[in-house]
């Protein structure tokens, strides 16, 4: 009781002052506010935006924890001293490498959110709670923290705040941050070292003349793009014991997260399902092209094109992007029909870019960003269908 009434009195004290949004953000984090309905419905359903965002975060937590273990596991495996996956050694690397990414992502992002809320005198909105969690999961483990901080600042300000904050943005903020990293620091982000902790450092030492073995930090997609088979089994890919961005590797945990989101009715099953269908369709087309003999082994696209069609679902960031980022309700299509088209095109274009992009063999980021831009257009045509029906009704009547 003590805390509750103290906070209530403080809220009254700060009311109308500049700091009110900042205080309220913390207050409403602790307590569901005492607001009551005024006009309109006198009762309201239990869900609010905080609960919704929290559900998405819960769906991502397994990926984060797995990512921490995997960071260490991949590190030791690459250095020739493999450790058990579920070992303290593996987790320790994750703790010192992944946790700082989470802290920087939330710290910088929330600071900017608070700043904008205070300046623009609106409440701190919850959108960043999910973005802040997505960001560390979609970057390579060796991303320097300062780069991440710069990218987060860019993404939150340009990707979201300039449009008016949560609910108003056109592009997915987490992907805007990821794209900024990719385009601003291409040498870092697209190399074959950054995916495994320590590989970059080792490469630098070798360059300085140290007599050490080079470490490969390559992802499966990176390997395939160069026509190499890195020799991971399907089970490795499905369970996630492969190098990659922190949270994107374990398809099974992403699948579970996706099922949880569908079950809780927070994530759109239409987008997830149609996106998978789009990816499989594109995968089949490429397989067909290879089978027809139009592409030979000498082609630089052969490696990725000949990848078994459904393997595309379990390598790279496709699964993560489909489940957690294509479904962002603000930037996705907003009509149910539109969601089918939007999702399908994301899957389709993801694999297309994945195969043909020479610089960076992952397409899901660019595919989602592209479809974010087209989502309003898709919605426009879907809604026009309803409008036309109405016009037709009118014409029949007046004719």
């Amino acid at each position: 009781m003590g805390l509750k009434s103290t906070l209530h009195n403080l809220k009254e004290k700060y009311k109308g002052t500049k700091m009110a949004p900042a205080f309220n953000a913390i207050h409403t984090f602790l307590y569901l506010p005492n607001e009551t309905t005024h006009n309109g419905t006198h009762i309201k359903a239990a869900d609010d935006l905080k609960r919704t965002m929290n559900t998405v975060i819960m769906a991502m937590v397994p990926c984060l924890i797995f990512g921490m273990f995997n960071a260490g596991y991949q590190h030791y495996a690459a250095f020739g001293t493999p450790v058990e996956f579920l070992s303290w050694d593996a987790f320790y690397i994750g703790l010192i490498k992944v946790l700082p990414l989470v802290i920087v992502s939330y710290g910088v992002g929330l600071a900017i959110e608070f700043l904008f809320a205070v300046i623009k005198k609106h409440e701190v909105e919850e959108g960043y709670l999910v973005t802040g969690m997505l960001v560390p999961l979609i970057v390579p483990v060796d991303t320097p923290l300062w780069m991440l901080a710069v990218a987060v600042a860019f993404g939150v300000v340009i990707g979201k705040e300039v449009f008016g904050g949560t609910g108003m943005n056109i592009l997915n903020p987490a992907l805007t941050i990821r794209a900024f990293l990719f385009f601003a620091y291409p040498t870092w982000m697209s190399g074959d070292k950054v995916w495994v902790h320590g590989a970059v450092e080792r490469a630098n030492k070798i360059a300085e003349g140290a007599n050490l073995d080079a470490i490969s930090g390559e992802t499966i997609l990176g390997g395939l793009a160069q026509g190499k088979d890195l020799g991971y089994s399907v089970a490795d890919m499905f369970f996630g014991f492969i190098p990659g961005s922190v949270g994107e590797t374990s398809t099974i945990l992403i699948l579970l997260g996706g099922l949880f989101l569908i079950f809780t009715k927070i994530g759109s099953w239409r987008i997830m399902l149609s996106s998978v269908m789009g990816a499989l369709a594109m995968g089949l087309i490429f397989n067909g092209v290879v089978d027809a003999g139009w592409i030979t082994e000498s082609s630089k696209f052969y490696g990725l094109m000949s990848t078994v069609w459904w393997h595309h679902l379990i390598i790279g960031g496709f699964a993560f992007g489909t489940v957690f980022m294509a479904t962002d309700p603000v930037t996705a299509s907003q009509t149910n029909k539109g969601k089918w088209i939007y999702g399908f095109l994301i899957g389709f274009i993801s694999i297309l870019i994945r195969v043909f992009n020479p610089a960076y063999p992952e397409g899901v980021m660019l595919a989602i960003l592209l479809m974010n831009v087209f989502a309003p257009t898709i919605d426009h045509y879907v809604v026009q269908g309803n409008v036309k029906k109405r016009m037709k009704r009118l014409k029949v009547k007046t004719a």
């Binding site: 602790l30 569901l32 506010p33 607001e35 009762i43 609010d48 935006l49 809780t264 109405r390």
Partner: protein, 451 residues
């Protein structure tokens, strides 16, 4: 013509405190309050000044824009108070009721020989016209326009709403008279909906097209019926009348008496003995609420109407002109520790985000007035569609109203909707947006700009 209407999209909000089927006479209210704001968009021109003595059925004020449209007193008594708000707008008119009620005799109406215009004039002059509303715009019907059809819902699906089968019992003659009269004013049909398994007095009337509806709320909303049967196009007008108000219209036609008597359900989880009362329009809610288990200084909200569309009234407030339900539920002005992330068992939700109402679909809930979260921009999509049965895009039309794009509002179906159609989407809205308010303001802009 298909007369069986099945609604799939919707939500039945099951609350504690449904009225037991027993009717009492409410204590006769000392005062009767008429609030012009019940009649949306009407500018009242007051006739009965303070001190005027009125019989029941005598004119208090008329509509400044349509001078023939009279608004009459539900009781006989003396006007004791006219409350004015900003710019001398009339907020309420209070009438001290006589012990011995006197009715103005408006004369029996010769229904058989009368034509539509005669009926219209009679209803306008006698104060029964305000019971007829129109769409588009959800306002009192414009008497100069003839409706393409008239819609009446005889099925109440809103949470804790008064059971229309029960309150209309034995009123067949009045209902028939009202229907006959309404029928003379339209070229089209009178569409009446009743519940699928109901035993409604409306079902046996002549001159109607009967529809049986089933499914969750808003299956009983008249807007749902219109959308399914004969949606409104640009330039068309339909009328709607509350089933219970047909009784008042019918009685006036048959006896010449404006009898504002109405059977009202007193419901809600704060009421100890929820049941029905016979009372009059404008009666103080205190005459019913406090003798039935609501504590005088308790922290409750009294609503004239149901929990979705009703109006909040003060303890000394009155039953409004159109509603037949008084709901009393607890206020929710308290904080809840970590209320946004802990599992919720005692509130209703359409999601399963650690909310467990999906496990117990038949449980009756005791909801309070807490908003369960703060007002935010629209974020989620696709959830409104689950509870919105009309062939309209709810999110898109709400946004069109917010940025006042008249062309888009028109194209998306604004002529077809009323604020009450958006009550459920407002209830489930994660961003806690005031949907009904947004729609009402949108409709008002359209009246002003398009007319």
């Amino acid at each position: 013509m298909s007369n069986d209407i099945k609604i799939k999209k919707g939500l039945d909000i099951k609350l504690k405190g449904a009225a037991e089927k027993a009717t009492e006479n409410a204590i006769i209210s000392n005062t009767c309050t008429i609030r012009p704001e019940d009649f949306h968009g009407v500018t009242p021109k007051l006739i009965a000044k303070v001190g005027a003595k009125l019989k029941a059925g005598e004119t208090i004020f008329y509509n400044k824009d349509v001078e023939d449209m009279k608004f009459v007193s539900p009781v006989s008594g003396e006007v004791v108070e006219v409350n004015r708000g900003e710019r001398r707008r009339i907020m309420s008119i209070k009438i001290q009721a006589d012990k011995d009620q006197q009715y103005q005799d408006k004369g029996k109406f010769g229904l058989d020989s009368a034509d539509g215009n005669a009926v219209k004039e009679h209803l306008l002059a006698s104060g029964c016209w305000p019971f007829i509303k129109q769409r588009p715009y959800d306002v009192i019907a414009n008497p100069s326009k003839s409706p393409k059809a008239i819609f009446i819902s005889g099925y109440a699906s809103a949470p804790l709403a008064a059971d229309l089968d029960y309150v209309l019992q034995g009123k067949e003659t009045e209902l028939q008279a009202a229907i006959t009269a309404l029928g003379k004013m339209t070229e089209g049909q009178i569409h009446v909906s009743v519940g699928k398994n109901a035993n409604s007095p409306l079902a046996g009337l002549n001159g109607i097209t009967l529809h049986t509806v089933s499914g969750p709320h808003p299956s009983g909303n008249v807007g749902t019926l219109i959308n399914r049967v004969d949606p409104i196009n640009k330039g068309e007008v339909v009328w709607t009348v509350n089933a219970q108000d047909l009784v008042i219209i019918g009685e006036l036609l048959l006896t010449g008496k404006f009898n504002a008597e109405r059977i009202v359900a007193l419901v809600g989880s704060s009421v100890k003995k929820p049941r029905y009362f016979k009372t009059k329009i404008g009666s103080e809610v205190a005459t019913m609420v406090y003798d039935n288990g609501v504590d005088k200084d308790s922290n409750d909200r009294i609503i004239s109407g149901n929990v979705l569309t009703g109006k909040q009234v003060k303890p000394d407030g009155a039953l409004d002109y159109y509603n037949n339900t008084i709901t009393v539920i607890p206020e929710g002005d308290d904080y809840e520790f970590f209320g946004w992330n802990k599992p919720v068992f005692n509130k209703i939700s359409t999601s399963r985000a650690l909310t467990f109402s999906w496990l117990t679909p038949n449980k009756k809930y005791e909801l309070d007035t807490n908003t369960n979260g703060e007002h935010r921009a629209f974020v989620l999509t696709g959830n409104y569609e689950e509870v919105f049965p009309l062939d309209i895009y709810p999110l898109q039309i709400l946004k069109a109203c917010m940025y006042n794009d008249l062309d888009e509002m028109e194209a998306l179906g604004m002529y077809e909707v009323a604020p009450e159609d958006f009550a459920l989407t407002e209830f489930i809205c994660v961003s806690k947006q005031p949907h009904q308010d947004i729609i009402r303001k949108g409709l008002d802009v359209m009246i002003k700009e398009i007319g």
